[in-house]
């Protein structure tokens, strides 16, 4: 038995540059005891970074994988059971591999007006969050991120793990070139636990009763600071819940308390099927530096309407995108949709960017980039091994808040 090309690609190979980066960091930070070693395909010793909760995942017999250079749990037994726990009740994820950046200084908002494709002027109330792309001048997507408005001189940014070094360097360079006095601090002293599901908030309040007063009134996409905790009503699952930033030293106690309150640990496998059902993009799969946000289903996050100029704007307005992102629902049960499979449409060929088996729909779903003009409701053919399988074009999300939103 051997994984097919599709399977291998899906695991996501890391670039040589990323591997070099992680080696460099580990030397600089000098924390070998926190890191696992492995032998890379090249034969060179490579180092995976570990979150502060790594020991707990291993003690729980989690299946661990290399995710963007981090040694992370993919599941603790059954990915599908973990998926259902989040849709039906609650589950928790260690997402400490994501990088928290604090941007501080008098010109923070002006800087973000220029740096981000979405408009930070939408952030008026303290604690309000905004999802945005970080673009290159040519309109390619450097990363997607969430920015929180805390004070006029303090914004908190959360970026992806695999792009953290690149993003940090990019933002520092933009700050330098702007000539403004801003500090950008990497908060690697914080762990992050996402508690997600219809009962997630109640479970968090059981464990952190002191946080209830400040976090119960929070609307989705808002955050509050409670002592040394940063609690945001955000997530990546399509369910209600919180993402909690907690000092490293207290992360294990919080994780154990949540487990004792009946919140099962869930791995990145379930996180991926949940986000795909929720129609959310994954950076590096559904968009990257070679794609425009306008052909990646992210036009709603790009503020082209205001007179504000931002990095990448002129490239995006220069020409209309030739491709568009759609959802696909497999009609034929003989296979599973996977990234890189070719999609045959009446308007030409496209490609699946993320595909999986949907535990909620009990059939395969995907996000795909196809020629513009392919319409919702159309039938297309996806090349799966030697067969062309019928799939229907749908508008994501597939599932939100436990409800199926597409017709099977």
């Amino acid at each position: 038995m051997q994984e097919s090309a599709e399977g291998r690609r899906e695991k996501g190979a890391r670039s040589a540059a990323e591997r070099a980066n992680s080696r460099k960091r580990s030397t600089q930070r000098g924390l070998p005891d926190r890191r696992a070693q492995r032998v890379a395909l090249t034969g060179a010793i490579d180092v995976l970074k570990q979150t502060t909760l790594n020991r707990i995942h291993r003690a729980a017999n989690a299946r661990m994988v290399d995710f963007g250079g981090w040694d992370m749990p993919v599941h603790y037994g059954s990915q599908i059971d973990e998926h259902h726990a989040v849709r039906r009740d609650a589950g928790m994820f260690d997402v400490s591999h994501m990088r928290v950046l604090d941007l501080e200084g008098a010109g923070a908002r002006d800087f973000l007006r220029h740096a981000l494709a979405n408009n930070v002027d939408k952030l008026a109330a303290r604690g309000k969050a905004l999802y945005s792309c970080l673009l290159r001048p040519d309109g390619g997507v450097l990363d997607d991120l969430i920015v929180y408005f805390l004070t006029d001189e303090w914004f908190r940014i959360v970026v992806n793990a695999s792009t953290a070094e690149k993003d940090t360097a990019w933002l520092r360079d933009l700050i330098d070139r702007g000539g403004v006095a801003l500090s950008l601090t990497v908060r690697d002293d914080l762990a992050m636990i996402a508690v997600q599901g219809p009962h997630a908030r109640e479970k968090v309040w059981q464990v952190l009763p002191q946080a209830r007063g400040a976090t119960e009134p929070l609307k989705p996409f808002n955050a509050a600071i409670v002592d040394d905790l940063f609690i945001a009503r955000t997530g990546y699952t399509g369910e209600d819940g919180f993402e909690i930033m907690v000092p490293d030293a207290r992360a294990e106690a919080l994780w154990n308390a949540l487990a004792a309150a009946g919140v099962p640990p869930c791995g990145l496998g379930a996180r991926d099927t949940l986000r795909l059902e929720a129609g959310m993009n994954l950076y590096g799969q559904d968009m990257d530096e070679s794609t425009s946000p306008l052909e990646s289903g992210l036009a709603w996050t790009v503020d082209l309407g205001s007179p504000r100029d931002f990095v990448g704007k002129s490239a995006l307005t220069a020409s209309a995108p030739a491709r568009t992102q759609v959802g696909l629902l497999l009609q034929d049960p003989r296979g599973v949709l996977r990234a890189h499979q070719v999609v045959h449409t009446a308007k030409g060929e496209g490609e699946i960017t993320s595909g999986t088996f949907s535990p909620t729909l009990n059939r395969s779903i995907a996000l795909a980039r196809v020629p513009r003009g392919v319409e919702v409701g159309e039938e297309v053919q996806v090349q799966v091994r030697e067969r062309k399988l019928a799939a229907r074009v749908v508008k994501p999300p597939f599932v939100r808040n436990g409800r199926v939103l597409v017709d099977k």
Partner: protein
């Protein structure tokens, strides 16, 4: 890791059981099902198909990846476990009970298989 001593194995993670009628039954190992995670789709060969040693003749797909299953030796497929089409998760539950297909080996076919100890060593090294 569960590696029954009475079965033979391949380095590509199939298990092989010698049947009294001369046929051999093939499945995927416990190690393989654990590596793949929850299985959601299994494609089996047609009964009567002639297969060569090393030929991909079945596909198992989990939530995260698709994998080929290879014929450990040349012969003819004489039976397949159709129950798996509706219940692919049976392989996760009992990898050695949930067989995939059965082959009658060609005359003179000399499969080179691993015993349980050799397979254990092989997966320890991988």
């Amino acid at each position: 890791m569960n590696i029954p001593a009475d079965l033979s194995y391949t380095s590509s993670h199939e298990w092989v059981r010698q049947e009294t009628d001369g046929t051999r039954t093939i499945g995927i190992t416990d190690h393989a099902q654990a590596a793949l995670g929850d299985l959601v789709y299994i494609e089996l060969p047609q009964v009567g198909r002639k297969v060569s040693s090393g030929e991909a003749c079945a596909v198992v797909e989990s939530v995260k990846a698709a994998s080929d299953v290879y014929a450990p030796f040349s012969g003819e497929v004489v039976a397949v476990n159709d129950d798996l089409t509706a219940r692919p998760e049976a392989v996760n539950e009992d990898a050695y009970g949930a067989w995939l297909f059965r082959i009658r080996p060609d005359e003179g076919s000399q499969p080179s298989l691993l015993d349980a100890k050799a397979y254990e060593t092989a997966i320890g090294e991988s």
